[in-house]
């Protein structure tokens, strides 16, 4: 680890609540500049003022407001929102309809050709019958 790596990595330890990694400890043991930098960073973080919060009365009022909203809200659910269920059911229904339609019995291609031939023969027979009837007339 070089000084740049160590100084980038020391933000993890700036608040003093995480142990130093072995690599970092080794480097710090032999590098006065990085030790100084870590101390400066920690001193800076300690000197930062904490965020300001309102008095307890504010939180009591806020809690009351939250609890009031919760009383009127439905109890916790695994899948909140009935529209999700409705959408899911509609999608399942559509899929079912499509599947049923796609599985309907259809004539095989060979069967279709046979039917076509039969229809052509019928056309020939009809034409012959017409000619016959004209001939008789």
């Amino acid at each position: 680890m070089n000084c740049q790596d160590v100084q980038r990595g020391m933000v993890v330890n700036a608040h003093g609540d995480s142990p130093l990694s072995a690599d970092m400890s080794d480097h710090l043991a032999g590098c006065a500049d990085c030790r100084k930098e870590l101390e400066a960073l920690r001193a800076f973080v300690r000197a930062l003022p904490p965020g300001d919060l309102p008095p307890n009365a504010f939180f009591a009022r806020q809690r009351a407001a939250i609890m009031e909203k919760i009383d009127t809200a439905p109890a916790p659910r695994l899948f909140p929102g009935r529209w999700q269920w409705a959408t899911g059911m509609a999608a399942a229904l559509l899929l079912g309809v499509y599947f049923t339609w796609s599985q309907r019995p259809r004539p095989a291609s060979g069967e279709m050709f046979q039917n076509l031939e039969m229809m052509q023969q019928l056309d020939v027979l009809e034409a012959w019958a017409d000619m016959e009837s004209h001939g008789r007339a």
Partner: protein, 199 residues
């Protein structure tokens, strides 16, 4: 958090998941200050932070059955808080664009206050000079934090004000831990530079 509170918290979570509003009230009592503090530091307005905190808790209540204890309750709650914050940010952006486009004027009392106005004047020390110095430092720090890019500000606040470990921040923000580390590095470097001579 000590072990006892941890065990009680687990119990409150289980009871809340079964629909006990009273148990959820205990969780609200533990975490409302933390969540509100984070949101307040981020948005800089007490009224907005209050509204967002309430909204986040309501969403947490509704989605509580989805909490699987794979993360800490606080991490899960802050994820919700962050989503609420993002939605608010989008609405604010649209509102500002609309205002700019139509030249709308704010109504009285609606004007956003600078973080220093919101956060000041609460902790008055007995010594007026010290109080003034402390107020000045808080005001400068708030302004410096407010000036950070959004992600750096978020990481800094979650780390410094809420004391969340980097792994939890990564989970809350849904980014890699290395990214959190980089944001924190840049945030601290900028704050040190901006507050040089004051801290």
């Amino acid at each position: 958090m000590d072990g006892n509170v941890g065990t009680m918290e687990e119990q409150w979570i289980i009871e809340s998941q079964s629909g006990s509003a009273a148990a959820f009230g205990q969780l609200v009592a533990i975490y409302q200050g933390k969540l509100f503090g984070f949101l307040l530091s981020y948005v800089g307005r007490e009224d907005v932070a209050d509204e967002l905190t309430q909204d986040a808790f309501l969403k947490a209540w509704r989605g509580l059955k989805g909490f699987r204890a794979e993360s800490r309750f606080q991490t899960w709650l802050f994820q919700i808080g962050l989503n609420v914050l993002r939605s608010w940010g989008r609405r604010e952006k649209i509102r500002r664009l609309r205002e700019r486009a139509f030249g709308w004027v704010r109504e009285e009392g609606e004007s956003p206050r600078a973080p220093e106005d919101t956060l000041s004047d609460r902790r008055l020390d007995a010594d007026p000079h010290r109080a003034a110095d402390a107020r000045d430092l808080r005001s400068r720090t708030s302004a410096a934090v407010a000036g950070l890019p959004p992600k750096e500000k978020m990481v800094f606040l979650l780390r410094h004000e809420q004391g969340l470990p980097l792994a939890d921040i990564a989970r809350v923000m849904d980014v890699a831990e290395g990214t959190v580390k980089a944001h924190l590095f840049h945030a601290l470097a900028k704050l040190r530079k901006n507050l040089e001579g004051h801290i």
